[in-house]
Structures are given as C-alpha cells and as structure tokens.
C-alpha cells in the first residue's frame, strides 16, 4: 500500500524512505505544501469529509481546534504515547483533554540568541541574565556605535509577532491565558502588559529598526541577524545557530552567534515550545499504516540520522532539532550540535505556551494579538488600546 504524507517540508532522504518501505512494505508518497496552504487544505478536506492525506501536519497552535473538531485520530489509539512522553517533553503541546493529537517530529522552541562578537565590541563581557540587564546591554550596543538598532522584533502582522509576545510574557514570569482561557495581561503590572510595553518601546526608542514594522520572524532572522545588522533576537528559533547563522552561504556572522538562557524578570526563564507535529486525519485511507510511519519517522534513530549525526547522506536538509531529549543529549555530548548543551538543557525545561493546550479559537485570538501589536508599533494604537482590544477578543471568544 502507498500512504500520502503531506507536510510543509521537502521529503527526507529517499534512501531513508526506501528503507522504511523495505522494512514495512508501506510506500510513502511525500507531498510538500507551504504551511498556509496546508492548513487550508486540512480544513477544507476535513469539512468536506474527503481524503487528503494519511499523515499530515498538526500545528501546536491548532491543537485545541483540532481536538474539538475531532478531525484527527487520538494518537494513543495507535502508539504508546505515555512511554513516548518521557523522552519527548514537547508532546504536552499536542495534548488536550488527555488526547494526543499529534507527535512532535522536531523540537522547535523559542530561545534568545546573541552575537557575542558585537556584544564584546560594545564592552559587554558577561551575558545578561535578566530582561533589565538585556535591555541595558542593547542600549550599550547602540550608544557605542556597534549597532544602530541591535534588536530584532518581527512587527509584521503575522504569527511570529504573537509568538514573540508569548515568549517575552513568559520570560517576565507570566502567561497569556489562564487554564480557563481568561486573559492574564490586562493589568499594567502583569507580565503580558509589560512584555507588550517593552516590545513597543524597543521600536519607539530605536532598539529595533523602524523597518521591522513589516518584517516577519524568518525575514528578520535571515536578513538582519544573519547579516550582522542586529546583535540579538530575544525570541529566536532553536536550531538557528547551526542551521542559519553558521552557514557561510546564508550568513555573514558565522561562529559569532550563541544561545543564551532567556533573560527573565529575575534570572533565566523557561522557553516556550513551538514544535512541529504530525498526526492522522480521520479521513485517512490507511490510518494504521500512517501510525507505523509516524512511529518510524519520529523514532530516535531516524531523528539522529535526519539531524546529520550519521553523515550528510542520511541528513534531512530542512530538519531542525530532534524531539527526543535523549537524541539531543547524545548529539550534544558527541559535539554534533552547535550549542548542544544549552539546547538540551532548555529543551528539558521548555513549556507549552498554553498549559491545557491551545484554545479552539486560538487562530482568531492570535490574529487579534498580531494585528493590534502591529498597530501599536505603527503608532495607530497605544499599548493600552492594543491590550484592551486583544483582551476583548479573548473574552468574547472564551464566552
């Protein structure tokens, strides 16, 4: 039988897929669709109750929605997800009401990156551990002339801006929504409010380039951080140092960028998970075969191969970081992962943005977050107005 796997990524090495087919008799047809189109296809196919793929993307932000809609099989029907959870901390991001909607196949989480060479030029020898120290260091970078605008915040009205705010809120010791999905950021003394103020002040005071008003997260990382235009990204992607900043073909800051523990209110803060998952739609033709594939695809051995530990022939070009903690630790100990020790420690303590799983109405909420924070950065709203608008959206949706 042939199963269709649709993800927003190119296919893994054909030798790996051939080995899977030899081992199981299951052939894999790989379909690479951009993320936005993929989400549209998932919704359209599920609504029309038509077959689309046997295994496809499960985004952490849609887990609540997908759980309520029942569009995906609970993975515990096919796999021992309890056993997997012990070595896969980010499986929590895909769990709602006891159901595991998807299995994380990589371990993306938000992390702070700094260009140590630029920090050094500004006379900063000790890396900041609190947000106040971090802000002070950014000003030093600016006043010393090392970087006119040392910080990257992607203010384009897109998902990356919401994620940045969640990470900053978390760094200040707070959360965006509570377990009942009620907003926790309306008080000016709340971490969420302070995080929004800090971000908007950063662009108003020139810590962030003015042009970032329309820069997305990936654009900022590729054109600002990787080109030495800025010295730090507070909410960067784990894996970017090895996969972007240290690649001479796409970066002019090779070996200059490092991960640091995310500066928090009083010390290092936890990191928010932002993983990619894979699940089985209810309209799949071969759900059991798809589950077999997912088990193989997310196994520690395959992840180590995909990460390039066992040679470039087995590496998967678009792969970031294994979701198995043991795989990350093994890579770190063998020296196969840039910043491996820091990453494995952060992965161990990474937390889901929404403890009980993202609410079913998360996409609407996120839309409100990024459009209002963008408007505040553009000057058409104040921080207070933006926060009120976001809170009203959350309250209206939570009911």
């Amino acid at each position: 039988m042939t199963i269709t796997v649709a993800l927003a990524a190119g296919a893994p090495p054909s030798a790996a897929l051939a080995a899977f087919t030899k081992q199981t008799g299951i052939k894999v047809k790989w379909v690479n669709i951009d993320w936005d189109s993929l989400q549209t296809k998932i919704s359209a196919a599920a609504t029309a109750k038509t077959y689309f793929a046997d295994a496809t993307d499960v985004d952490w932000s849609r887990v609540g929605q997908l759980s309520k809609l029942g569009w995906f099989y609970p993975m515990q029907q096919f796999l021992n997800t309890n056993a997997m959870a012990a070595d896969m901390p980010q499986i929590k991001s895909f769990t709602v009401g006891g159901d595991v909607i998807g299995i994380p196949y990589d371990a993306s989480f938000m992390v702070t990156t700094v260009n140590k060479q630029m920090f050094g030029k500004a006379g900063i020898k000790t890396m900041p551990t609190t947000l106040n120290e971090y802000t002070s260091d950014l000003h030093k970078l600016q006043t010393s002339g090392v970087s006119a605008h040392p910080l990257d915040i992607p203010f384009a009205a897109a998902e990356g801006l919401s994620t940045y705010w969640y990470e900053t809120t978390g760094a200040l010791g707070g959360t965006v929504l509570d377990q009942q999905d009620k907003p926790q950021f309306t008080s000016p003394s709340s971490p969420g409010y302070k995080a929004a103020e800090w971000m908007i002040n950063a662009i108003k005071t020139g810590l962030v380039p003015k042009g970032n008003i329309n820069v997305t997260d990936s654009q900022g990382m590729q054109t600002l951080m990787a080109k030495g235009q800025v010295a730090s990204v507070f909410s960067d992607y784990s894996g970017n140092v090895g996969a972007l900043y240290n690649l001479p073909s796409s970066s002019s800051v090779v070996n200059q960028v490092e991960y640091i523990p995310t500066p928090g209110a009083t010390g290092a803060a936890a990191n928010w998970s932002n993983p990619d998952g894979i699940g089985i739609p209810k309209e799949a033709k071969y759900p059991k075969a798809a589950a077999t594939f997912i088990q193989w695809f997310t196994s520690e051995q395959e992840q180590v191969d995909f990460a390039g530990v066992n040679g470039p022939a087995k590496a998967w070009a678009t792969y970031a970081l294994p979701s198995h903690l043991s795989a990350v630790q093994a890579m770190a100990s063998k020296g196969n992962l840039v910043g491996g020790d820091a990453l494995s420690a952060m992965l161990q303590t990474s937390k889901p943005v929404f403890e009980g799983g993202a609410p079913p109405w998360y996409p609407q909420f996120s839309n409100s977050v990024y459009t209002n924070l963008h408007a505040a950065a553009a000057g058409s709203e104040t921080v207070a107005q933006a926060i009120t608008a976001i809170a009203n959206t959350a309250n209206g949706l939570a009911g």
Partner: protein
C-alpha cells in the same frame, strides 16, 4: 471597404467549391447568389450531414465538456455559496442551521471587515484608474510598428505572468526602508529621509504602494486589450482625419479613444475584478495589518482561520454581487459597439 457580405463573397470566391468553379467573368448577381448559398451552407452545415438525432446532438456533444466544466466548477459552487451564506456553517459551532441574514449582520458588525471594505474601495479606484490610463498609454505607444516591438510586448507581459506572491516578495525588497530601491530614490530626491518606513505606518501610503504593485501586474493585460481594439481601427480613418487637418492629439481624443471603447470597457472590468479580489500583494507586503487588509483577506481569515464558513460564504457573495453590479455599470457607461 465593402459590406460584410461583399467581403465574405470575395473570400468565398477563393474556396475550392462550386463558387470557385465560376468563370472569371461572372456577373455581380451570380457572385452575390453564390455568396448567399455559401452563407447558408455555413449556417446549416453540409447537406450530407443529415437530419438524424446523431447529427442534431453533435453540437451539444461538442459543447458538453465546457458546459459540464462551467456548471460543475462555477454554477453549482455559486448556487451552493448563495444558499450556504444564509446558514450558520461553523464546525466549531455545530450543527449547520438556517440563520437568515445572521452572517451578513455579523460581517457588518466586524470592524476588521468594514475597514477592509474601505481599503478595497481605495484599491479599486486607484488600481482601475492607473491601470486603465497606463494601459491606454502603452497601447498607443505600441500601436505603430517599430523595431523591437515584439520584444517590448513580451517584456511588458512579464509582470502579468508572474504570480502575485512572487511580485509581493520582489517588491518587499524594493520598499525596504534601509536597503530598498524606492527609499534610495526618494531620499536622493529629498522626498523622504533615509530609512523612512513606506509600508505599514500610513494607511493611504500603504494602500497606494501595495496597489502600485498590483497595477504593475494588471496593466499588461489592460494594454493588450486596448491594443487589440486599436489594431482593428482602419488606418483610412486616421488618414482622412489628417487630410481634414486633424492633429495627433485631436485624433486621439476624437477617433482613437471612442473607437477603443469596447477594449477599454473590457480592460476596466478585468482591472475591477482583479482589484476587488486583491489578496497576494497586501498579504505578502503588509500581512494581516488593518492598514492594508482587503476583503478577500478577510474572507480567508473568516473561512479558514476562524472556520466560520457561513461568514466566508456571505462575504464571498457580497464580493460577487459588488463585482457584478459595478461591472455592469462600467459596461453601460463605457462600452459602445463599434462597427467598421
């Protein structure tokens, strides 16, 4: 230049049938009769085709694939959209149920949708005016043959052939505040300071610049449509006007523009449809920001982000009705039948 029938008669005389068998010196009456017989044959088909059911069904059979295509992919979905726009269709809020004008009511209470209506109106006005004026200008320039004309037309078509998303990405670089071409030009002309933010801060400027990108894309088709209309204009008209002392400018206003009205009307309608449905350029250049979001962006957000398909159907229906009504107004105001 004779009547259409005379023209057809001349053409018919070159066909290898009984009309060609006529001797060289045939009287005008006989040639006229032969032409009429040919027209009748063309209208009714060859006598040998017979009058059986198979012969009668042939035209329907030939049209069937296109008819099935149109019915299946346009009419049925359109009917479905109209019906469903009056239902609450939201998988997060089951079951699907009749909701009257509930979807429309919610749309008009949604500030993001209302803002997007305003933005889209500006896109339409700016886009239609600019693309039509530029289309007429380029058509006039390209009307006369000159060396390299084919290459110029091919280059002109390029933006039309590019996907909107690709154009958006391309222009993102051009509008970049620190390294973009546009900022460099404006600052060198002392029209803006270096590093000025062009997109996202000022609503009017944002919409105008986004629409400029779309105009770059849709103007080639407007040009081709107007150019096609101009190519049909008989040269004798312009020669006669010149003999009567009509200058180039007067000739353009009094002859070219009136005779190009069928092409201009079609060009305006295509620009209208494109600008009313603008999605790629604002989405890529300005994200979901209210400073530039269009109605079709809102349709996407409502349908596929919020999963409120009923609301999405209702908004799609509104866009369709607006497109039809405005197109009809344009056609009535601009289109004139032209016979040469």
């Amino acid at each position: 230049m004779g009547s259409p029938a005379e023209n057809l008669m001349v053409k018919a005389s070159s066909l290898p049938d009984e009309t060609q068998a006529a001797p060289a010196a045939v009287s005008p009456d006989r040639r006229w009769a032969a032409g009429r017989r040919l027209i009748r044959r063309l209208q009714t088909g060859p006598q040998s085709a017979g009058t059986g059911y198979a012969a009668k069904g042939l035209p329907y059979l030939l049209v069937a694939p296109l008819a099935i295509f149109i019915v299946g992919l346009a009419l049925v979905p359109a009917a479905f959209t109209i019906i469903e726009s009056f239902y609450r269709v939201n998988p997060l809020d089951p079951p699907t149920r009749f909701d009257g004008i509930g979807n429309f009511h919610r749309l008009f209470a949604n500030s993001a949708v209302l803002t997007s209506f305003g933005n889209t109106a500006i896109y339409v006005v700016a886009g239609v005016v600019l693309s039509t004026v530029l289309g007429i200008f380029f058509a006039v320039v390209l009307r006369r043959p000159f060396r390299g004309r084919g290459i110029v037309i091919a280059v002109l078509i390029l933006p039309w052939a590019l996907p909107g998303v690709v154009e958006g990405i391309l222009w993102t670089g051009i509008f970049d505040p620190s390294s973009g071409l546009m900022n460099g030009v404006l600052s060198s002309l002392h029209l803006a300071s270096h590093g000025s933010v062009l997109l996202g801060e000022n609503r009017w400027l944002t919409i105008f610049l986004i629409e400029l990108v779309q105009v770059w894309q849709i103007t080639p088709l407007s040009t081709l449509l107007v150019l096609a209309a101009m190519q049909l204009m008989p040269e004798e008209l312009f020669q006669a006007a010149a003999i009567d002392g009509c200058g180039a400018w007067r000739s353009f206003w009094r002859i070219t523009l009136p005779l190009a009205r069928p092409g201009i009307a079609v060009a305006i309608v295509q620009s209208l449809i494109a600008t009313l449905n603008v999605f790629d350029q604002p989405y890529v250049l300005n994200g979901a920001a209210t400073t530039g979001s269009s109605i079709t962006e809102q349709t996407y957000f409502i349908s596929f982000q919020d999963l409120d398909f009923g609301g999405g159907y209702a908004l799609s229906l509104l866009i369709t009705v607006i497109t039809l009504v405005v197109s009809l107004i344009v056609v009535r105001a601009v289109y004139r039948r032209v016979d040469y």
